[in-house]
C-alpha cells in the first residue's frame, strides 16, 4: 500500500504480527492443564478392553485402598442421579458410564478420584471388572443385515439402522443417468481418522457448594453451548454456571462434543466438594474421543459425450460408532454433504445417506471440514478425474469446460444451496500458470516413454462455511448466530468480546484488525477476549470456518452501530448537524470541509465527558449476527507426485494451492491456515487411518501407529490467492480455516492415480500406502 493512502495501523489486509504470541513464545500460555486450583483432585478412567460385552461385576475395593484414592464412581452411582446417559448433539444418547453393557473398546467404565495424577492412574488400574463378551459388529454393511446383533438395546427400534436421509430429485436423476451418453461409477471409502490436536481434551470442574457457583475450565470450542447443555442436563441454574475456555491447543472439531470425562469430573467435584481435574492421555484421545469421516460412498456421474456433466447420484453408508454423536446442525444428519455437486452445474442430483451403529467409539465430528464437506469434495473431485479418464480428456480441460461461470452467481445448486460468489476458472488457471501445467504434461509424456511414474492431480473445490442462517441452522435448537460486544474506553482504547473461541486461528489479532478498519483505531489499541461465558456475549463457537463469516461480521456491525452514535457526538463537538458529518478516511469529517474532523478517540473521550444532551453516555455496541447465507470459499489445488516403481513410495514434488476466501484480513495468518490445512489433507491421503479388526480391537490407537505427518513428509506448500468477495458479508470475507483440509486429499489421490495410468487402475482407497501402489504396479491392477 502506498505511503499516501490513508490507512489505519493494523487494518484489514495487513500482515501484522500476532498479539497472542507474546505468551506462547515464552511458554506462558494458559492451557487447561496449566491451571492449578487449591485442593484440586485428579480423575482417571478405567476403560473396557472389549468392544462389546456385558459387565457382570465391578469391584472397587482394591482401588479404594490405593494411597491417595478418595472415591470411585461407576454407572450405578450415576444411574441413581439420572446421569448414566446424556443426550448427544444429534438428539441420540450416549453413556457417561455403562450400567450393564460396554459398546466399544476403550469405553469409560469407572472413574477414580485421587489427590494426584499418579495415584488416580494407580486407582484406575486397580478397579476390577468382569466382562462377558458379546458378538461384535464392526462392519456397517453387516450391521444392517437382518439377524445382525443389535447394539442399542436401549432403543425402541431393535436395529442398527440409525436414520436415512435424502435430498434431490430421485426420479429425475435416474432418468438423466439412464439417458446419459457417458456414465461412470465408483466406490470410495474414506476411513476413520482423528483430529489429534497436539493438546488432548480435559477439564477442571469446580462446584463451589457455598456460593452455588459451578465453574468448569474446559477444552471446548463452544463454551456457551456447553453451558446451556450443562444447565439442561444437570438442572444447575445457568446463571451459576461458568464455562472458561482458556488457551486451547488446537481444536479442529474434536473439542466440540461433550465427552464423558467432562461429566465425570463435574460429578466428582460435586461429590467431593473439591475442584477435579481430568486430562486424557493421547491413547484415550485417539481410542475414545469422537472420530471423523468413516463414509462408504458409491457415486455415479452422467455426462454428454462432449464432457458436459448432467447428473450426479450418491449413496452413502455412514458408520457412526455406537451412537450418533456427530456434531452437525440438527437439520442435517449428514452435515453439508449435499454440497457435493461442487463447482459444477449438475442439472440433476440425488444424494442419500444411511447411518449405522457399530461397536466403535461414537461420532463423527466435523474435522476441519464444515460438516462432511471433505467427504463431498473428495467424492466429486475424484469423480471428475474418473470421468476425464473415461472421456480421454485432460482433467483440467474437463473442469474448465464445466465450471459454474462467474456470471451465474448467486448460483442455486440442484441440491438447494445458493452459492454467493465464485470464479472457479480464475483460480484453476492461476494454479496452472504458477505450476506450469503444460510443461508438466510434456514432462510426463517424456517420462512415460521411459517407464517413469509421475502424476499430476487437480482439485477444484467449493466449500460451504459460516453456519449459519437461522431459518436452516441450529444445534440442539440453539440458532447459529454469533456475536461481538465492543466497548470504547474514554482514552480511545477498545475492549471487544466474542461468542467464538480461537484454538490457534489468531482471533485476538484478526478481530482487532476488523475493528481497527471499522473504527479507525490502531489494532494495538484493541484487546480481544473470548471464551469466558460470564463475560462474552452468546455465540456458537469456532468450528466449520464460521468465525469470520459470523462473529467477524458481528464485529463490523457492532462497530458500525458505534459509528452511528459516534457521528452524532462528532457533530456535537464540531457544532454541525449530524447530516453534515461523514465517516471518511478513518475520521468523522464535515462534508466539504474534510480538515474539520474528529477521530474516534476524540469522540470516545467526549462520550464520557461531553456527551450530547438527550443521549446516553458511553460508546459501545453489541451485535448478534444472523448470517443471511453461508459463504462459499473455493480454490484450485494442483499436486505433482513422483513414484518409486520398486517400492511404491509416493513423494509429493510440488503442490500449488490457489485459494479464494474473499476479502483477506491478514495474509500471513491466512497462509498459515492454508499450510496447516494442506498438511491435514496430506495426512489422510497418505498416512492416517484408524482400523478395527473383527473383534473390535483398534489399530492405530497410539502415535506409534497413528502416524501424523512430520516436517519431513510435508512439502514446501506454495500458496496464491484470487479474491472474490462475498456479496453478503459486511467486509466481503468468507472464512478459510478448512479449505485446505477439504481440497487437498483429492488433489493428491488424483495425482497418484494419474501417475499409475499405464496400469489401468481407476481408484485406490486412502490412505495410499506404498504397498497399495506396489500392488498395482507389480500385482496386475487391483490393490488390496
Amino acid at each position: 500500500m502506498s505511503a499516501e493512502a490513508p490507512h489505519v495501523k493494523g487494518g484489514i489486509g495487513q500482515s501484522i504480527l500476532r498479539k497472542e504470541d507474546a505468551r506462547f513464545i515464552r511458554g506462558k500460555g494458559n492451557y487447561v492443564d496449566d491451571v492449578k486450583l487449591p485442593g484440586m483432585l485428579y480423575l482417571d478412567i478405567t476403560r473396557s478392553p472389549y468392544a462389546h460385552a456385558k459387565i457382570t461385576a465391578i469391584r472397587t475395593d482394591k482401588a479404594l485402598k490405593v494411597p491417595g484414592v478418595l472415591a470411585v464412581v461407576t454407572g450405578k452411582d450415576l444411574e441413581a442421579a439420572g446421569l448414566a446417559w446424556m443426550p448427544t448433539l444429534m438428539s441420540d444418547k450416549q453413556m457417561v458410564l455403562p450400567t450393564d453393557t460396554v459398546m466399544y473398546q476403550a469405553q469409560e467404565v469407572a472413574a477414580v478420584v485421587a489427590d494426584s495424577r499418579y495415584a488416580a492412574a494407580d486407582g484406575a488400574a486397580a478397579v476390577e471388572v468382569d466382562y462377558e463378551p458379546l458378538p461384535v459388529v464392526t462392519n456397517p454393511f453387516k450391521a444392517l443385515e437382518p439377524g445382525a446383533p443389535v447394539i442399542r438395546t436401549d432403543r425402541a427400534e431393535k436395529s442398527n439402522h440409525i436414520w436415512h436421509w435424502e435430498t434431490g430429485d430421485k426420479e429425475g436423476t435416474e432418468r438423466s443417468l439412464s439417458g446419459s451418453e457417458v456414465r461412470v461409477a465408483q466406490d470410495l471409502y474414506i476411513p476413520r481418522i482423528h483430529v489429534s490436536s497436539m493438546e488432548t481434551c480435559g477439564c477442571i470442574a469446580h462446584m463451589d457448594s457455598v456460593s452455588g457457583r459451578f465453574t468448569i475450565w474446559m477444552t471446548t470450542q463452544a463454551p456457551h453451548a456447553i453451558r446451556t447443555v450443562f444447565a439442561l442436563v444437570t438442572g444447575l441454574p445457568e446463571q451459576n454456571i461458568r464455562v472458561i475456555s482458556p488457551d486451547i491447543g488446537g481444536g479442529f472439531g474434536g473439542k466440540v462434543p461433550v465427552y464423558p470425562g467432562y461429566v465425570l469430573a463435574s460429578v466428582a467435584s460435586i461429590k467431593t466438594g473439591h475442584p477435579v481435574k481430568w486430562i486424557e492421555d493421547r491413547s484415550e484421545n485417539l481410542q475414545a474421543d469422537s472420530f471423523a469421516r468413516d463414509y462408504h460412498i458409491h457415486a455415479e456421474v452422467g455426462a454428454t459425450k462432449d464432457g458436459n456433466v448432467s447428473a450426479l447420484r450418491v449413496k452413502t453408508l455412514a458408520d457412526h460408532g455406537y451412537t450418533d454423536a456427530a456434531a452437525n446442525p440438527s437439520k442435517f444428519p449428514a452435515g453439508l454433504f449435499h454440497i457435493i455437486t461442487g463447482s459444477y452445474p449438475f442439472a440433476k442430483a440425488f444424494v442419500e445417506v444411511d447411518a449405522a451403529y457399530t461397536n466403535k467409539p461414537p461420532g463423527g465430528i466435523a474435522y476441519r471440514c464444515s460438516f462432511r464437506v471433505t467427504e463431498a469434495v473428495y467424492t466429486i473431485e475424484r469423480m471428475m478425474d474418473i470421468l476425464a479418464h473415461k472421456l480421454n480428456v485432460d482433467p483440467a480441460d474437463l473442469r474448465l469446460k464445466n465450471f459454474i461461470p462467474p456470471e451465474a452467481f448467486p448460483y442455486k445448486s440442484a441440491l438447494g444451496w445458493t452459492y454467493d460468489s465464485g470464479n472457479y476458472a480464475g483460480a484453476l488457471r492461476k494454479a496452472m500458470e504458477i505450476i506450469d501445467y503444460a510443461g508438466l504434461r510434456r514432462e510426463q509424456a517424456e517420462k512415460r516413454k521411459k517407464g517413469e511414474l509421475m502424476g499430476i492431480g487437480i482439485s477444484s473445490f467449493t466449500e460451504i462455511v459460516g453456519a449459519g442462517p437461522s431459518q436452516t441452522f441450529d444445534i440442539l435448537g440453539i440458532k447459529m448466530f454469533d456475536s461481538a460486544e465492543v466497548r470504547i474506553h474514554p482514552t480511545g482504547k477498545v475492549l471487544a468480546r466474542f461468542g467464538t473461541k480461537s484454538q490457534g486461528q489468531g482471533h485476538e489479532t484478526t478481530y482487532a484488525q476488523i475493528l481497527a478498519e471499522e473504527l479507525g483505531i490502531p489494532a494495538d489499541d484493541i484487546r480481544v477476549e473470548e471464551g469466558d461465558t460470564d463475560t462474552a456475549p452468546y455465540g456458537l463457537g469456532t468450528y466449520a470456518s464460521r468465525s469470520t463469516p459470523t462473529a467477524g461480521a458481528a464485529a463490523s456491525m457492532a462497530a458500525r452501530k458505534i459509528r452511528e452514535k459516534a457521528a452524532k457526538i462528532a457533530a456535537h463537538l464540531l457544532e454541525v448537524s449530524p447530516d453534515d458529518i461523514e465517516w471518511k478516511d478513518y475520521a468523522f469529517r464535515v462534508k466539504g470541509v474534510p480538515t474539520k474532523s474528529k477521530t474516534m478517540a476524540e469522540v470516545a473521550f467526549a462520550a464520557y465527558t461531553n456527551h450530547p444532551k438527550g443521549s446516553e453516555a458511553g460508546l459501545e455496541a453489541v451485535d448478534y449476527y444472523d448470517p443471511p447465507n453461508m459463504t462459499y470459499p473455493f480454490g484450485s489445488y494442483i499436486c505433482v507426485v513422483d513414484i518409486d516403481k520398486d517400492t511404491g513410495q509416493v513423494k509429493i514434488r510440488r503442490f500449488v494451492a490457489v485459494d479464494d476466501c474473499g476479502t483477506i484480513i491478514n495474509p500471513m495468518i491466512v497462509d498459515g491456515q492454508i499450510h496447516g490445512g494442506l498438511t491435514m489433507g496430506l495426512a489422510p491421503a497418505l498416512l492416517e487411518e484408524i482400523q478395527y479388526d473383527e473383534d473390535g480391537n483398534i489399530h492405530g490407537g497410539t502415535f506409534v501407529d497413528y502416524l501424523l505427518p512430520t516436517a519431513v513428509e510435508t512439502p514446501n506448500w506454495e500458496t496464491a490467492k484470487t479474491v472474490t468477495p462475498s456479496p453478503h458479508h459486511p467486509i466481503g470475507a468468507k472464512g478459510v480455516g478448512e479449505s485446505a483440509t477439504v481440497g487437498a486429499p483429492p488433489a493428491i489421490v488424483n495425482a497418484v492415480i494419474d501417475a499409475l495410468r499405464p496400469y489401468g487402475v481407476e481408484h485406490i482407497d486412502i490412505p495410499i500406502h506404498p504397498w497399495k501402489v506396489w500392488q498395482v504396479i507389480h500385482g496386475g491392477g487391483k490393490p488390496a
Binding site: D21, R26, G27, D34, D115, S116, E199, T679, A711
Partner: protein, 183 residues
C-alpha cells in the same frame, strides 16, 4: 550461568507417595532445585507440577510428539521419557529459560516474526529443538531443519513457517544483536 549455592526447595509436593522417595537436585534454567520425588516421577511432571514451569507440554504417551522437549546437559530430549531421578545432578533448560534479562532469544523472536506458531502447544518443544540445532549449526539447510524437527509434531502450521522461523533465527544468531524488538 552459575547455579546458586543453596538449592530452592519447592513447596508443592507432587503426590501422596505410595512408596519411598528419592532426593534429587537438578539445575533448571540456572537455578538449583532440591526436592523429594518418587522414582517414577517423569521429568516433565517434575517441571510442570513440582516447579510450576508449565511451558513444557505433554502431547502424547508414546514418546512421539516432542511437545515435552527440554535440554538435558545441552542436548534436546523428550522429558516425558526421562525420570526426574535420571536428571539428578544435571542441567535442564526449558522454554522459560530462553528469554534472558527480559530479552527474547533469536529463536523466540523469529517464531513471532515468521508466524511460526498458531495454537502454541507444540511451540515450546519446537523452539527448544530449534535452539539446540542452531547452537550446533547456525546455518542449516531447509532439509536439515526439517530432519532436526522430525521428532516435533505440529498440527496447526504445516511446518512451512516453522522452517522459515528457524532459518531466520540462525541468521539472527550470526549477526550482531540489535536493540528492541519483541512481542
Amino acid at each position: 550461568m552459575a547455579a546458586m549455592a543453596r538449592p530452592v526447595t519447592p513447596a508443592a509436593s507432587l503426590m501422596s507417595p505410595s512408596g519411598p522417595l528419592t532426593r534429587v537436585e537438578i539445575t533448571i534454567n540456572g537455578q538449583l532445585y532440591s526436592a523429594e520425588v518418587e522414582p517414577r516421577t517423569l521429568l516433565v511432571y517434575f517441571l510442570r507440577e513440582v516447579l510450576g514451569l508449565t511451558g513444557t507440554h505433554v502431547g502424547c504417551d508414546t514418546t512421539n510428539c516432542g511437545a515435552c522437549t527440554v535440554h538435558l546437559d545441552g542436548r534436546p530430549v523428550k522429558s516425558c521419557t526421562v525420570l526426574a531421578v535420571q536428571a539428578n545432578g544435571r542441567q535442564v533448560r526449558t522454554v522459560e529459560g530462553l528469554e534472558v534479562g527480559g530479552k527474547l532469544s533469536p529463536v523466540q523472536q523469529a517464531f513471532y516474526e515468521e508466524h511460526g506458531l498458531q495454537c502454541g502447544f507444540c511451540t515450546p518443544g519446537m523452539m527448544m529443538t530449534a535452539t539446540a540445532l542452531l547452537e550446533r549449526n547456525p546455518s542449516p539447510s531447509d532439509a536439515e531443519i526439517r530432519d532436526a524437527i522430525r521428532g516435533n509434531l505440529c498440527r496447526c502450521t504445516g511446518y512451512v513457517n516453522i522452517v522459515k522461523a528457524i532459518k531466520a533465527a540462525g541468521k539472527k544468531m550470526q549477526s550482531p544483536p540489535t536493540a528492541g524488538g519483541g512481542a
